[in-house]
Symmetry: C2
Subunit: 214 residues, 2 copies
């Protein structure tokens, strides 16, 4: 049994907001405040929290420290999670420099690439040949991976990751990857996401062309 992905995303967003709010001296927060800051509804916020037995006080809202420590416990912030990235191109570089990645409990421990020119074992984190992936992952017991390789090698890389002990990936390759049922794949097809915006813009200007769906 798992939480829906969208719920988890919101919980992480709540926590980010609470850390900021705490830093400016706020002691109590209201579901309305959280909803406004994150573009959600107060009902949604209360529903999310009640799932975990977190309840607020109608007048005083939620006690910030309480809420934060409950979210921390829930989201397991204190455990550092190691991640490897397959593919040492621009996307990997972008991820390495992504704001907040480093300090947020996620540590990129190695990158892997099949291009010898890109490999650099002295780099921090090391950039290693793809042949080393299996040994590295199984020795260091890494469970989290990122697939940032071209689509035509993505399935092969995923298979290798699974055998090595990876339990879930963030996948940027624009194809549908096959994996065992208990393996978690989070697909990020950036082109499709951009095309979706393009489509919505185009259709917005042609009123009433499409039926609503869900």
């Amino acid at each position: 049994m798992r939480l829906a992905k969208q719920t988890i995303l919101r919980l992480f967003q709540y926590r980010e907001f609470l850390i900021l709010a705490k830093s400016i001296g706020i002691k109590n927060v209201y579901s309305d405040t959280l909803a406004e800051a994150l573009g959600s509804s107060a009902t949604q916020v209360r529903k999310d929290f009640s799932l975990f037995g977190i309840t607020g006080n109608k007048r005083a809202g939620y006690q910030l420290d309480d809420l934060l420590s409950q979210l921390n416990e829930l989201l397991g912030k204190n455990e550092k999670q190691k991640v490897i990235i397959a593919g040492a191109g621009n996307l990997a570089k972008a991820l390495m420099q992504y704001e907040g990645f480093k300090k947020e409990g996620i540590e990129i421990v190695a990158l892997f690439d099949n291009d010898p020119v890109k490999c650099d074992p002295q780099n921090d984190p090391p950039i290693l040949p793809i042949e080393d992936l299996y040994n590295f992952v199984s020795e260091k017991q890494v469970e989290l991976g990122v697939i940032a390789v071209p689509y035509y090698v993505a399935q092969q890389i995923l298979d290798l990751m699974i055998v090595a002990g990876i339990k879930g990936v963030l996948n940027f390759a624009p194809i549908y990857l096959k994996a065992p049922k208990d393996f978690f794949i989070n697909d990020m097809n950036l082109r499709l996401e951009l095309e979706t915006v393009a489509y919505l813009i185009k259709t917005r200007t042609k009123a009433g062309v499409h039926k609503e769906s869900s």
Copy 2:
């Protein structure tokens, strides 16, 4: 009235698959085939198509050319859509090299950055100072944008884009941006997406800790 984002994403995925299927000589496709290749269900495929009045034949399935031309019409493939990217860092570079971006009807017409060192008007596409964004966008009538700037300037850049005539963005800044109701924002918080996978992996090993939600 709009299609749900997930439906549109699937339609683009169907089309991608059909283009590949056509290239290897397939003439008719079944909803089962599409579902298998894309990790969906046949019911979902039929439901998606029926939204647009596309119906198959029980024995012969869908006629591929027909289906493809209907999807092309629907998704407006033939119109080229111009896009600008604010922020000329690694993420922008990754997007520029993202497989298939170029040939898929989306043309990156300019990048903008406030770092003079990164600017290069001779580059293809040009990398221009952020001060030029307004004039460029309004003159070239660009409607689609990508926000790949640090989070603390993201709202400011979005405001500038909106005034200039941009109608929707793909946003990589990890904050909730405010915009008019008819403006479309597609948020891609890569760190949260990775944290979500990390969370799912961790909780999977602790059975029965959390309640299911939707």
